[in-house]
């Protein structure tokens, strides 16, 4: 019987407009992909470490102390970049939350979570350093300075963002709730700042804490910009690494739903320890 000539399986015709394979992704996407790959993150970490080291050396030793405040003013080189990074991550949380609500893409939510967690770190640091610096200058650990108070409100909003994530049993819903809290918190910040400025009734010019006034000595400004760059690099590293862990956690969670695994595992506990306690697979395959 004539063997039926096997028609060669139709090759998956690459869509003419979009050649398949890595080449079709735009240059930006490829660069982002490289940055977020585990190797990329490692080099980000190294760059951040180098920049932080250099900035510490410069701001502690090289730069002259401030005429009025003396060495205490060196705290500016950590307090101001921390404040800048805190507000940066808050803006990223708000933007990513809005994008997640708008498009429903999961990577926006991961970016929002990563930025929120980094935000909590830097906001807490800003407040601690701010009061540490305020102590010798204003003689009090806490003054209702508009910026410090707004940063404190920022910290409360971050706490709300992270607390709301775990509330519903449906992780998608938790992500949506936290996105809404992140957005509402972001809309709050300008009103908070304005209220506190009026509330104190003080309209004195920017206090010495406010940087960037060109009157600062050239070298100090350079040291400050280096510190800001270093903090931003570290922030980028923390966010990128946190996004990878979030992606891995979500992948594991979805993995647990795939049929072969599901039968072997009775998922009740959270993913991390759940996998650790997963019983050794029964059936012939178990080689444990």
């Amino acid at each position: 019987m004539a063997t039926i000539a096997r028609r060669p399986a139709p090759q998956p015709r690459a869509h003419p407009a979009r050649p398949s394979g890595a080449r079709n992704r735009s240059r930006g996407a490829r660069l982002l992909g490289a940055l977020c790959g585990s190797r990329g993150i490692f080099w980000q970490g190294v760059a951040a470490a180098v920049a932080l080291g250099a900035s510490a050396v410069v701001s502690l030793l090289v730069v002259p102390a401030d005429a009025a405040q003396g060495d205490v003013q060196r705290l500016m080189y950590v307090h101001v970049p921390a404040a800048w990074t805190a507000y940066l991550s808050f803006a990223v949380v708000a933007f990513a939350s809005a994008a997640y609500l708008r498009t429903g893409r999961v990577h926006w939510d991961r970016l929002a979570v990563a930025a929120a967690e980094a935000g909590v770190l830097f906001t807490g640091l800003t407040i601690a350093l701010g009061s540490l610096w305020g102590r010798p200058i204003w003689g009090a650990w806490w003054t209702w300075d508009p910026r410090l108070t707004t940063t404190l409100v920022l910290l409360l909003v971050y706490a709300g963002y992270l607390a709301v994530r775990g509330l519903p049993d449906n992780p998608d819903r938790g992500a949506r709730w936290s996105a809404v809290v992140g957005l509402v918190g972001f809309l709050d910040v300008p009103v908070v700042h304005l209220s506190v400025v009026w509330w104190r009734g003080l309209h004195q010019p920017a206090t010495v804490l406010r940087p960037g006034t060109p009157t600062m000595a050239g070298s100090m400004l350079a040291a400050l910009l280096l510190a800001v760059l270093a903090f931003t690099l570290l922030w980028a590293y923390l966010v990128a690494a946190r996004m990878r862990t979030e992606r891995a956690a979500q992948r594991t969670r979805r993995e647990l739903l795939s049929a072969p695994v599901r039968r072997g595992v009775q998922p009740v506990a959270p993913v991390a320890d759940l996998v650790a306690t997963a019983p050794t697979p029964q059936g012939a395959g178990s080689h444990g």
Binding site: A159, G160, L167, D169, V180, V184, D188, S195, W198
Partner: protein, 220 residues
């Protein structure tokens, strides 16, 4: 859309008149808190008059949290909230209806609280009654908007206890600051237009956020 919001607000208020929860629990709580705060600060009348606005708005804030929780509990009792969400009504209409009903309840509460404070702390209400009324109105609308927005989160969350204050209080901080300052200025008869503008901007932000984002909170 407005028809549904009005129907919902009317239903909420009728439920309130029937259940009289605000009158029977929230009001006594508020007055007790006020008196306790007053006692804690001592009999010194000028001091009391100076902190009176702060006491008023702290009490209203906590009363708002209680009233919001009660309003959503009534919905959740028999799954009525899900009935609302499964109706073709736009989530924004549900939000506005709840916020309107809550505002009316809180305003009624404030009228009583302000008169009680006027008696206890000897506040010169006659100084600028219109300004005072405007401040109370704008502050209450903002508070009701935040309460209604986050109330559904507290109702649907697994651990219900501490969620509502955790979400409402940080968001209400600017409102608290503005209302206290505006009230004290109003009592002294000074100009409050700047603060009213700030309160108004807060209300616009809160209502806009509520209208746009309520849909995301309620969908499962």
């Amino acid at each position: 859309m407005t028809g549904e919001a009005l129907a919902l607000a009317a239903k909420d208020l009728r439920l309130e008149l029937r259940g009289r929860h605000a009158v029977s629990t929230v009001l006594p709580f508020a007055v007790t808190l006020l008196v306790a705060l007053g006692l804690a600060l001592g009999p010194d009348r000028p001091l009391l008059r100076q902190v009176a606005p702060g006491l008023l708005w702290i009490t209203v804030l906590f009363a708002a949290v209680l009233a919001t929780r009660r309003s959503y509990e009534l919905e959740g009792e028999d799954g009525a909230l899900e009935g609302l969400l499964l109706s073709p009504a736009d989530p924004a209409a549900i939000f506005l209806g709840k916020a309107a009903a809550l505002s009316v309840q809180l305003l009624a509460l404030e009228v009583v609280l302000v008169t009680v404070m006027a008696l206890l702390f000897g506040l010169p209400l006659a100084a600028a009654p219109v300004a005072l009324a405007l401040v109370c109105l704008l502050a209450t609308v903002g508070l009701a908007a935040i309460g209604s927005l986050f109330g559904v989160v507290a109702q649907a969350a697994r651990t219900r206890e501490g969620v509502l204050p955790l979400l409402v209080l940080p968001a209400a901080i600017p409102l608290l600051v503005d209302a206290v300052r505006a009230t004290s200025l109003a009592l002294e008869g000074r100009d409050v237009t700047g603060w009213l503008g700030l309160l108004l901007s807060f209300d616009v932000v809160a209502l806009a956020a509520g209208t746009l984002l309520y849909g995301y909170l309620v969908e499962d």
